[in-house]
Symmetry: D3
Subunit: 63 residues, 6 copies
């Protein structure tokens, strides 16, 4: 029953989400010995102005 | 002070959110004996291409 | 596939967790029309010195 | 390595997010003695019809 | 900057956590092209009486 | 209604939690103009063998 939440910056391609879902699930199934259908993954995208490092929004860091 | 986060697939009606909020709060108030105003619920919708089961995005499972 | 996280103060009885699990699941199944086995709930207990309201740890509020 | 998630109602200005990021990070760095670049903050906005108090969606509370 | 939260039942070995950390990070680095040190993973263990499926605590399901 | 979750390594003193609660709440009240009692903070401690950077558990990084 692993439930996995992946928080990442917005802007990735659909193929990248597909590859993350496939690859992470394979690791979890192999290491924990659980059934694939018991692995749920939620992807939470963070817009560049809703994520901060060092006290500065990521959008401003990049300017 | 229960804070409840409900992660669910996007696409439900406003009435369904109203009914979830009302019903879940009633259960929590009854079981825990807390004041209704101390029950906070956040609903987080997952688009079909941002949720995976068995290593496959939900959107692709349905194709 | 609703995944529900319930954050609450530590110190509840096992019967209360059983009743919350049963009651919340019944509401979700009824409102969303999903299968019961697709409703997962995680209970996260907050010790009284790890939760703050108004800038004061709950433990100190009660003194 | 503090990772901080701030759940708040949608509708704040960009300047408010900048000020929250700066102010919260300063507090964490000062109190914990960690490096600023190790403080990550994610802001999660809750639309008024996806947040409930007392079993009522915030949007309806305000009507 | 991916931040990943893995919720799983308590009772896994230290080696399993090491293998999950290593394997998931490798997938994320390869698919997203990010630096390894930007991948943070938090493991949150759920005791068997703090997780529910179908409205029944996992501990009771197993009896 | 901000609800704030602070994930940090275990091992901080009670005074540090008190100072974080007070300091973060002051920032949020000042920037957002909300009432202090509407600011809830949950502190989630991560043991050193339940947090990973670069694919290595923090405990092992320190050896």
């Amino acid at each position: 029953m692993p439930f996995i939440q992946v928080h990442l910056l917005a802007g990735r391609s659909k193929e990248q989400f597909e590859d993350l879902a496939k690859g992470i699930t394979e690791v979890v199934v192999k290491v924990l010995g659980v059934a694939p259908e018991s692995v749920w993954i939620e992807f939470i995208e963070m817009p560049k102005d809703r994520f901060s490092i060092s006290g500065v929004l990521y959008e401003n860091l990049k300017k």
